[in-house]
Structure formats: structure tokens, C-alpha cells
């Protein structure tokens, strides 16, 4: 179980304090899939970065399976069983897809295993394992490999920040299949997409850095439709 307790994040901009997250408390139960949604700038990505340790809350505490994550480095959190797929995949000069999947799993994988990891995201290992993870791959390919890196770790908690962004021709159906296939894991997905919200056990709507509503998709939907964000509302009408 993951608990966020009174998380606030305040940054200084032009000499003024700006509140990005305002006293957010949430509980994520084991084995469930949560989708965090909300308008741009509502604090969704910042919130999940705090779980991974990429950002540090100004106040508040995060507890994962009874362990306070306060002060733990990103890698220590990863080794407790948290995986994270970035919204914008990181490129490397020289590191190959195989190197990254080996790093993600902490071992040297044979071809068959790498094939399993990549075919889960619709890629053929033969074409990709020796490719460098750089600008020679398309945005969609990078994104799918980013997902494969998170999934292959078989973590207790998976965080996906806008997994649908840049998924080129690959369909949302495949993406939702992946989330359904993650078995016992807890999944936290940041998304705007209706099809992804529909698979959530619970949808969390953030607005202005605060939790506006938590519930089943149909319960949260009216709040999304009342939301002032045109893009988000458009997705759900």
C-alpha cells in the first residue's frame, strides 16, 4: 500500500511562492489501477515524480508498504519495488536497447527474454535490441521501449506518466492490454485519455494542486465535464 500524507509542494517564481500541490493525501491499495487526471498544470506529473523521488515535497510524507520514503534516493525507491515510465523518454548516446533492459532487470538477459519484454510493447527484439536508444528511433518507438523498461522490472508499483503520449500508430487497445496484464501490481497512470480512465479501479481528479474528486470513472466523469479544461473535457464528451 502506498500512502501520500499531506503532500505540499511550493516553489518560488519571480520572488513569489507558487503552490503546485496543496495538502494532497491519497491512499493506493495493492493490486489496483489508479489513473490521475486533471488539466495541464494541476500537479499530476509532479505528484508521481515525488513518489519516485525525482522531486521532493516541501511538506508531507510518503509511505510505501510501511516504509517512509522520506530521504530515500531514487534508486533506493526503485529497489523497494517502484518502477517509473517517463512522459518524455530519455535518450542516451551509445547505450543500446539491450543495455537498458539489462540495467532495468539487473542482469544480462538472453535473446528470448528480451524478445518477451519487447513483444509486450509490439516491437520485434531482432530489430531493436542492438539499436542505440537515441534520436535514430522515432518518438513512438522510444515511448514503447520506455514502457518495456518499466514493465520488465516486474515491480510492486508501476508509475506511468502519460503513457499514451506519442504512441504513434500503436493503438490504445494494446496499451490498455498491457495495464491489464500487470497482474498483482499496483499501477498509477497519469493520463487524459478516456480509454485509459475507463480501465481504472479509481480515477483521481486533480485541479489546481488539490484533489478534486476520487472515485470510479463514472463518478468522476461529471467533475471532469464541469472542469474548465477544454482539452480534457473534449476527450470525455
Amino acid at each position: 500500500m502506498l500512502k501520500l500524507e499531506n503532500i505540499s509542494y511550493i516553489v518560488e517564481e519571480d520572488g513569489l511562492n507558487k503552490t503546485i500541490l496543496d495538502n494532497v493525501s491519497l491512499t493506493f491499495e495493492d493490486g489496483k489501477t489508479y489513473v490521475i487526471t486533471g488539466p495541464n498544470g494541476s500537479g499530476k506529473s509532479t505528484l508521481v515524480k515525488m513518489i519516485m523521488g525525482i522531486e521532493t515535497p516541501t511538506t508531507g510524507n510518503i509511505v510505501f508498504n510501511g516504509i517512509s520514503l522520506d530521504g530515500l534516493q531514487i534508486n533506493e525507491r526503485a529497489n523497494l519495488g517502484i518502477s517509473y515510465a517517463f512522459q518524455q523518454p530519455v535518450k542516451f548516446k551509445g547505450l543500446k536497447v539491450r543495455d537498458l533492459l539489462d540495467a532495468a532487470t539487473g542482469k544480462s538477459n538472453d535473446f528470448k527474454t528480451l524478445c518477451n519484454y519487447l513483444s509486450a510493447v509490439g516491437l520485434c527484439a531482432r530489430d531493436y535490441i542492438d539499436r542505440p536508444l537515441d534520436g535514430t528511433l522515432s518518438g513512438g518507438e522510444l515511448k514503447r521501449i520506455e514502457l518495456a523498461m518499466a514493465i520488465c522490472r516486474k515491480s510492486k508499483l508501476n508509475i506511468f506518466d502519460e503513457p499514451e503520449a506519442g504512441i504513434d500508430l500503436w493503438s490504445f487497445e494494446n496499451l490498455t492490454k498491457i495495464f491489464r496484464s500487470l497482474g498483482e501490481a499496483t499501477n498509477i497512470i497519469v493520463s487524459h485519455q478516456k480509454k485509459i480512465l475507463e480501465i481504472a479501479d479509481e480515477v483521481i481528479l486533480l485541479k489546481g494542486g488539490r484533489v478534486e474528486k476520487v472515485g470510479k470513472y463514472k463518478q468522476v466523469l461529471p467533475y471532469i465535464q464541469n472542469n474548465q479544461c477544454d482539452k480534457l473535457r473534449g476527450e470525455h464528451e
Binding site: 534508486n75 551509445g94 540495467a103
Partner: protein, 308 residues
Amino acid sequence: MNKIEKALLEKVSGLHKIPAGAVNIRRNGEIVKRNSTSEIEIVPKTDKSGIDIFVKPNVVGKSVHIPVLITVGGLDDLVYNDFYIGENADVTIVAGCGIHNSTCNTSTHNGIHCFHISKNSKVKYFESHVGEGEGSGGKVLNPITKIYMESGSQMHMETIQIEGVTSTIRKTFASLKDNAKLMVTEKLLTTDFQTAKTQFDVNLLGENSSVEISSRSVAKNYSVQEFKSNIIGKNQCFGHVECDGIVLDEARIVSIPKIDAADNNASLVHEAAIGKIAGEELTKLMTLGLTKQQAEETIIQGFLMGDN
């Protein structure tokens, strides 16, 4: 050869033992082993230290190994090796030098290699430089490579120096005729107070001649590197220089690329990027469970050992 020499030989040339083909192994300024074949002849120079290597025309798929080992301190070794590659040949040449210096006196190797590459022949040239040994004496390597390429010839030069070399000045000069093609990949890692200077001077004389130079380097601690390149296009030709550097700690990398289109049909490009390891690369690897140090090592390993 003793254990140290065998280990050094493997590091420099990838050889576990002395190979059967054309070979010339030089140790502490003297020849340990020399072997010619019916297709590749190695002849000692009579006027100065060094060898002439003659590859006969149309020889395909053969290799020559000419590693140099230095295992004593206070040696200043100078050698001239000239390669004459016959027409339509396709060969691999493995050179390189390893210095194991356990003394407080500096040892230096100055290897001057000159390639005469005939029409339509192809050469793959691997050069590896290694410095090791606990002694405070310097391990200095100053290679000079001169490449003369006739019409339609190709050369791929891979040069690598990973740690241990106290100081190096590496100069490469090339002159290319019609349709000749040169590719150079350089990989450098310096640490402590080491210095490395690299200079490429390329003359693109011939129509449709081309050169691609890719340098990747990592400077750690207080080490200093300087990369200079000067490509002159004197015909319809193509030249591309790319210099990527990662600086860590208090290290410094200076890059001075120069391109000169002496003919208005020349197309020349240079790119240079120097900086720290990108924070997002470290963060990504840490989300996979690597410590910051492991992430740094993984990124540097990939950067230096991956394909350019």
C-alpha cells in the same frame, strides 16, 4: 613473454597468443617476433627503426598485427612503420601500444605510421593505446598517422585510448583522391592530471572524396583534452566532423574544429558538444535501480564503447 607482457598484448591487440599470420611484435625497442606471409611481407628498415609492410594487390580478408609493448621505465622509443597496400586489397591492420611502467622514469613511444593505399583497396585499421603500472614515471604515447589515399580507396580507422596514458599528442594527416573515403572513430578517456591532444588535418583533393571523423571523449578529475580538426575541401567533396565530450569533476575539454571549403562544391559540416552527463540520463538509470555512481559508469561505458 611473461604474464604482464601477455596481458598487455591482449589489451592492446586482443591477442591471447602470437598469431600465425603476418605479425611484428616490438618489445622495449626490440623485435620479439616477425613473420611475413606469401601475401603480406614485413621488411625491416635499414636507415632507421621500423618496418615496411607490403600487402600485395588483390589480397582479401587477411590481417596484420604489429603491437608494441613497453615494460621498462626510461625508454624513449621511436619507430617508423610504412604500409603499402596493393590495388583491390581488403585487409585489417591491428596496431597499438601498451606501456607498463612500474618505475619512476618516464617511458615514451612515438609511433609514426604512414599508409599508402592504392586504388580501390580497403583498410580497416585498429589502434589501441594503454598505460598501466604503479610507478610514478610517465606513460607517454605520441602517435602520428599519415594516410595517402588513391582513387576509390577506403579506410576505417578506429583509435582508442582508455585510461592510464599520462600524456598523448595524437596527430593524423590524410590526403584523399577521387572517390576515396575515410572514416575515423576516436575514443578517449583521461583521468587524474593526464593530458590528451588530438589533431586531424584532412585534405579532400579528389572529386567525391569524403571523410567522417567522430570523436567521443570523457575527461575526469583534473585531466585536460584538446581536440583540433582542420578539413580542407578542394573539390566536390564531403566532410563531417563530430566531437562529443563529457567532462566530470574539474576536468576540461577544448574543441577547435575548422572547416575550409576551398572549392565551392565542397560540403563540410562540424558539430561539437561538450558538457556534463545530462541529469535526466542519471535520473532515468536511477529509476531502474542503479546508484548515481553506477549510472555514471554505465553512461560513460556506453558513450565510449557504443557505436558512434
